[in-house]
């Protein structure tokens, strides 16, 4: 049965296919349109460069009035990503707007890789290293980039 939410998700998918943002892809699982897989390439000129980070997005019928639950399925060392893959990203919480679509969500996450926000850390170690020992931070990030290819 088609509901506004499902129709909107199909539309988001069509948009993502016809005009994909750079280094981003996503698609609903073949057996469940409410569950999406996505891949974000680490942005160029950041330590995440060339990493292929997998994400899982879970929608429910309140979308787009409520944001989906998004988590990284790949290990990632980032000040705003919890150890279990959950993200600390304002637009997925209190700054959500129903005008966002899947492409907008994934683009925001990609730019979060570009500009971490160490002031609201989800991973204290990553936030500290990002502020105080950038070299070590980069080394740890590069480890996860290599892991992301497996």
């Amino acid at each position: 049965m088609s509901t506004p939410c499902r129709r909107r998700l199909m539309r988001d998918f069509k948009r993502l296919q016809s005009d994909p943002p750079e280094g981003i892809s996503g698609a609903p699982c073949p057996d469940n349109i409410m569950l999406w897989n996505a891949v974000i390439f680490g942005p160029v000129d950041t330590p995440f460069e060339d990493g292929t980070f997998k994400l899982v997005l879970n929608f429910d019928e309140t979308y787009p009035n409520k944001p989906p639950t998004v988590r990284f399925a790949s290990k990632i060392f980032h000040p705003n990503v919890y150890a279990n893959g959950e993200l600390c990203l304002d637009i997925l919480q209190n700054r959500w707007s129903p005008t966002y679509d899947v492409a907008a969500i994934l683009t925001s996450i990609q730019s979060l890789l570009h500009d971490p926000n160490p002031n609201s850390p989800a991973n204290a170690e990553a936030a500290n290293l990002y502020r105080e020992n950038r070299k070590e931070y980069i080394r740890r990030v590069r480890e996860t980039v290599e892991e992301s290819w497996e």
Binding site: P20, E22, S25, P30, R71
Partner: protein, 389 residues
């Protein structure tokens, strides 16, 4: 892609018509991304949304969904011009799309004319698909809760509306109903005046005809889809259109219209108002729902959710130039509730999903992820430079 059948998108327009893509985009609601349905402008910031979409958003948060400016329902105003623009645009869309695409396939129109019809078959197939897709789109749009007779009824009402405006009879009637956004449905006096409006326009045969992109003959715009189907598949176009196409809303008898009006009036339900749910007992809320003619089953939480949605649906319907009957609205409410009751999918469950569940998921969809990686790689801006391994 089959799954996209019926999902229209700005990208349907050929890439060499960027302005049409942009126009298509502008006529869409920023929230649902569909063409605006009962467009309402937020008067303090100027953004426009579907009435139901923006009302649902304001239930969540009293901010404009686009710019987050502080907004309440009192700031909403119907945007009639956009409504009219859309009506015309939607009518012309399939035809314009077919014309542009066929022009793209066979560059000079003259050359195409000289060719035997058989050579245009492949293009014809494509166009057929488009037309079928757009018809299906229409169908799926309404399929949620409208039967075909409902659609016919609504079409005939919207025709009345146009006539009323064109003939200058009670030109302000519809706006005055909507300014307060709450008047009971369609007051019978307005319907009465609509009924008096003459249906047919003088010399309408020429005004309403369009050029068939295939055979270049003049065809009545209402019959163009039927004509294209026949014309492109090489069938005779001399036959009469099927009964369904022939019985345009124009063919509605006055008696049928009267019957419809009566039916609509019978289902008019009282206007709901917003409630302070925390101050209401479960019993009081149940009684209120009963008085409103809305199902009163379930616990307080369910009743509250249903009441919120009903207020939004009712008000959005009152905003509309072509409101549906309250029985249709009640069916929509039931459909909405069914969808909401559908159970959460795997990952939604308790927030910290176990690492095991995530690992299972990635291995289950390993192929899907591999395809996505390849796809993302193909759109990547440039090869890595700064951090070589």
């Amino acid at each position: 892609m089959d799954a996209f059948l019926g999902i229209e998108d700005p990208s349907d327009w050929p890439a060499d018509f960027p302005h049409l893509r942009e126009l298509d985009q502008l006529l869409r609601c920023p929230v649902c991304k569909e063409y605006l349905d009962t467009p309402m402008v937020v008067t303090n910031c100027g953004h426009t949304f579907c009435s139901l979409c923006v009302r649902r958003c304001l239930t969540q948060e009293t901010k404009c969904p686009s710019c987050r400016a502080s907004t309440t329902e009192g700031d909403l105003h119907p945007n009639r011009l956009v409504d009219s623009l859309l009506r015309e645009f939607k009518h012309g869309r399939p035809q314009l799309l077919a014309t542009l695409r066929s022009a793209n396939t066979h560059k000079p129109v003259e050359a195409k004319r000289k060719r035997p019809r058989i050579t245009t078959r492949s293009a014809a197939k494509n166009m057929d698909v488009d037309i079928v897709a757009s018809n299906e789109q229409l169908a799926t749009d309404n399929a949620i809760d409208l039967t075909s007779s409902d659609i016919e009824q609504m079409r005939s009402i919207s025709d009345f509306e146009i006539d009323t405006v064109n003939s200058g009879v009670t030109p302000t009637a519809s706006t005055s109903t909507d300014n307060d956004g709450d008047s009971d449905f369609i007051p019978s006096d307005i319907i009465g005046s609509r009924r008096c409006a003459p249906k047919s326009h003088p010399s309408s045969s020429h005004e309403n005809s369009v050029l068939c992109p295939n055979c270049q003959s003049q065809v009545r715009s209402a019959k163009i889809n039927w004509h294209l189907d026949r014309c492109l598949s090489g069938k005779s176009i001399d036959e009469l259109p099927p009964a369904a196409a022939a019985s345009e809303p124009t063919a509605w008898s006055t008696a049928a219209k009267l019957q419809l009006t009566g039916a609509l009036a019978k289902f008019a339900l009282p206007r709901p108002t917003k409630l302070a749910y925390s101050l209401l007992s479960e019993a009081k809320l149940r009684r209120t729902l009963r008085e409103l003619g809305v199902p009163a089953k379930g616990d307080k939480h369910q009743m509250q959710a249903r009441h919120v949605e009903w207020v939004n649906m009712y008000m959005a319907n009152a905003d509309s130039e072509t409101p549906v009957s309250h029985s249709v609205l009640l069916r929509r409410l039931a459909t909405w509730e069914d969808a909401m009751a559908r159970q959460p999918e795997p990952f939604r469950a308790p927030p910290p999903a176990t690492p095991g569940a995530v690992a299972d998921h990635t291995s289950k969809y390993a192929d899907s992820f591999a395809a996505l990686v390849a796809q993302a790689r193909s759109t990547r801006p440039k090869p890595p430079t700064k951090y070589p391994l």
